[in-house]
Amino acid sequence: MATSPRATQQKFEPWTDPDAKPYVRIEKVTKKFGDFFAVDDVSLSIYKKEIFCLLGASGCGKTTLLRMLAGFERPTSGKIFIDGVDMTSIPPYERPVNMMFQSYAIFPHMTVEQNVAFGLKQERLQKDEIESRVNDMLNLVKLGQFAKRKPHQLSGGQRQRVALARSLVKKPKLLLLDEPLAALDKKLREHTQFELINIKETLGVTFVVVTHDQEEAMTLSTRIGLMNHGEIVQVGTPSEIYEYPSSRFVSEFIGSVNMFEGRLVEDEPSYVRIGCDDLEAPIYVDHGVSSAPGATIWAAIRPEKITISREKPDATDNWTAAVVQDIAYMGDMSIYLLRLDSGKVVRVTQPNIYRHADDRITWDERVFLQWYPESPVVVTK
């Protein structure tokens, strides 16, 4: 295998193929707790071998949606199909699905080995088959030497791997992970992310992963479903979500963004000009925008897509003046906080290309900010 997992992943886009059959289909699923909509009219299609991330702030209904896939909660309305079969009222123990719990839920009275073998014993497999599959799985997650330990003798990272091994050993077609990496430190988390991608490639499992960590969702997933207040607000690849957010909420949730409020002053099919009170020049965008005339709209510009210079640009659009308020040196790049004349603070990041830069822009300098016509994303809600 010469290709890295990421390289194969790039060409993997079943959702663009109209003939591809989704492996998991969630149809207009709603879950109410009393009067409260924990999941509100969600429809999703997830394809074989995807790593689909449900991303959203805490309490937005991710776990509830995942638990409905596993069968622990019944939807108030709507249907769930897995591999074309209606699973809506099938109990968890009859679904071809395994879940890794946020709390790991490892059986404390069993050894590592017994925990991993639990699901296979339930299937009444041959003793030596169970043994060899458990051994293989323990080696895969590098727990071979801990097979005889009890869970309370393991570290957090080891427990997490026991939980992963226990759900993987059943060779499920669909693996559900609820904040699988939340309890790990940064290094272990990155390592495990890579491991999950590897496992997906070697075992051909479809993953649905719940996370509130956007960085994790970006590195791990083939596609992200962004949730807010029980609804899916946007579905797309990490770069689609980042570069083409469909709303202010999405652009502000993923990464950081500068949001400029304004209204259309020129509305053509091939370009628009947006007048914005905070900026000295209008924003020019090189594509059309569908919006009611006079309505408030927003232009979102990412910090890395703005450049800083000392000379005043002689363009008519896409610039403004600012004063440097604060600089944070991060090594690979620097973060500038710049105050516009209106008082609004804009965030800009610049790569530190040169090692010594004596004439680097510094505190309290008056500078000019500029961006390209394709940089802003215009959103209407």
């Binding site: 622990f72 123990y93 719990f101 009275h109 009890k150 759900s167």
Partner: protein
């Protein structure tokens, strides 16, 4: 004051740690030693009704007189053996029925709505607000030949002659199970209530039907509660005196009754003490053995 304690080498923490030891010394070890001492002496018609162990002869000789006869007597007279065995049997059967009734009750309470749990547990301990003796007396009223139960059975036509229930073993079992059931339920409830329910979801996820999840996860995890409950019922039930006296056949052999007879009817304190010491050994040795086994299992590689 603090400085004084410090100078004496006593710090707050060690004082606190010493309290339970002090308690055990005062109310367990010292009485035990006294009883042990009496069990080796001989009975006398005097006050107190036994000979001292140590005797100062006045010729610079300290005489120690150990009378092993009391223990020999227990072995020779098979009344005592029968009483011991019967007590252990009665206690075992009662413990079994307490577990059979108490587990489902504790389970149901632990799985009920959290707001209902405290009220249900209050109901379980409510009988403690009435005197134990009164509650056992109440059972006489229920079980006697023209008592509540017999009258009820006759009224619904299930029987036409009253059944002899009072002064039978059945009445003793009813009395013990009724009286000690809360001691089974309390530790079981405490155990079942703190169980992490996602473990059951994990079991279901791995292919367990609900009853399999119960057998493979809930039950093994509740064993410490089962053990605690069984000990809390079994130990006092072995030495039980009041219930067999009030509800049981007067001829029923129970070690608690034998003890009572030796002390108060025969005024033979040394034999009574020997009975108590042997009873204690019967209970303590298996318990220590169990505790060892349990510790070894829980400790694993950990130790």
């Amino acid at each position: 004051m603090k400085a004084l304690l410090k100078r004496a080498g006593l710090q707050g923490r060690s004082v606190v740690a010493a309290v339970p030891y002090l308690w055990l010394l005062l109310f367990f070890l010292i009485p035990f030693v006294i009883v042990l001492k009496i069990s080796f002496s001989s009975s006398l018609i005097a006050m107190p009704p036994y000979e001292p162990l140590l005797h100062w002869t006045g010729e610079k000789v300290l005489q120690i007189k150990l009378n092993l006869g009391n223990f020999a007597f227990l072995v020779e007279d098979n009344l005592y053996w029968k009483a011991y065995l019967n007590s252990i049997w009665v206690a075992s059967v009662s413990t079994f029925f307490c577990l059979l009734l108490g587990y489902p009750i504790a389970y149901a309470i632990a799985r009920s709505n959290p707001s209902a749990r405290n009220i249900l547990m209050l109901l379980i301990v409510l009988p403690f607000w009435t005197s134990f003796l009164l509650r056992v007396y109440a059972w006489i009223g229920i079980l006697k030949n023209n008592g509540l139960l017999n009258n009820f059975l006759i009224w619904i036509g299930a029987i036409d002659q009253p059944i002899q229930m009072l002064q039978t073993d059945f009445a003793v079992y009813v009395g013990i199970v009724y009286s000690y059931l809360p001691f089974m339920i309390l530790p079981l409830y405490a155990n079942l209530e703190k169980m992490d329910l996602t473990l059951l979801e994990a079991a279901a996820d791995l292919g367990c039907k609900p009853w399999q999840g119960f057998l493979k996860v809930t039950l093994p995890l509740s064993l410490p509660g089962v053990r605690a409950g069984c000990l809390l019922v079994f130990i006092p039930a072995v030495g039980e005196f009041v219930i067999p006296s009030l509800l049981g056949d007067p001829g029923m052999l129970m070690i608690g009754k034998v003890l009572w007879t030796e002390f108060f009817n025969n005024r033979d304190w040394p034999v009574a003490s020997a009975v108590a010491i042997v009873l204690l050994l019967f209970l303590v040795i298996p318990m220590m053995y169990f505790q060892r086994a349990q510790d070894a299992e829980a400790g694993g590689v950990h130790r």
